[in-house]
């Protein structure tokens, strides 16, 4: 993820250098990209269309929740999306922890670890950032 972002930045810079006349346009596009609004969500901030999600949107949602995503967050977010693809549902805490244990490792498969990353309701918060529906089976 970090690499992809870095590459993107480099591309933008090189284009800017080579074509000075396009600098303004480039800057405009870049700023649009970053100030992009979060796609339609429900009243609780969950995406209405799952297909609207991408990593950029995830960053935006996280930001609106006052969070900065790190590699540790991304690991969980991607795994959560894998869970959804496999089972067609957003997991509650317990199954999420179990799934992490199966695919990432014991160190991460602890609710305290998830709470450190995503706050008091990690299953809900992580689902929101991952662009998935609210876990119906956790209140």
């Amino acid at each position: 993820m970090e690499n992809a972002m870095a590459d993107h930045k480099q591309d933008t810079e090189s284009v800017t250098n080579n074509q000075a006349s396009d600098t303004a346009l480039e800057k405009k596009q870049k700023s649009q990209e970053h100030s992009q609004e979060i796609p339609a969500t429900d009243s609780e901030g969950y995406l209405e269309n799952l297909s609207d999600w991408n990593e950029n949107v995830a960053e935006q949602i996280a930001q609106s929740e006052g969070m900065q995503l790190t590699e540790a967050h991304w690991q969980i977010i991607h795994l959560l999306r894998r869970f959804y693809e496999e089972f067609e549902l957003s997991p509650a805490m317990r199954p999420l922890v179990k799934y992490i244990g199966l695919h990432l490792g014991k160190e991460q498969a602890r609710s305290i670890y998830l709470m450190q990353l995503f706050g008091d309701s990690p299953a809900k918060m992580a689902s929101k950032i991952a662009g998935l529906p609210k876990p119906t089976n956790c209140l």
Binding site: F87, E88, L89, A92, R94, P95, K98, N137, C138
Partner: protein
């Protein structure tokens, strides 16, 4: 004594009974209840492999059923006579189930504090 037994008795397509029963199972388990499932009657059709509900524009429960073990729901029973009369085999189902005889059914219900029927 386990907490909850959920009985699945309706065929999988056309109504939302299967999904609602499954939702209840997952909610119960997420709240730390010990949940068991019993498939009987036409409910055993929910266990058929290769269901393609999207062919009639519906979302099935097959993927969700694979998540049961993630929720620690491992006591899953299927009534063997119901399978027999419907020409289904216990080793060709979409999830691992324990066959149960008619004779053992009353005992199974008595072992649970609460029984829900769908």
């Amino acid at each position: 004594m386990s907490d909850i037994l959920i009985i699945f008795r309706k065929p999988p397509v056309g109504t939302s009974w299967a999904r609602e029963a499954l939702d209840l199972a997952l909610v119960g388990a997420a709240f730390g209840q010990k949940v068991s499932l019993l498939f009987m009657g036409d409910g055993v059709f929910q266990l058929a492999q290769n269901q393609q509900p999207d062919a009639v524009g519906q979302k099935g429960t097959q993927a969700m059923m694979q998540a049961l073990s993630m929720y620690d729901i491992d006591d899953i029973y299927v009534h063997n006579d119901s399978l027999d009369t419907r020409g289904m085999a216990a080793d060709q189902l979409n999830i691992d189930c324990q066959p149960i005889t008619s004779k053992a059914l009353p005992g199974l219900l008595q072992q649970h504090k609460q029984v829900f029927n769908f």
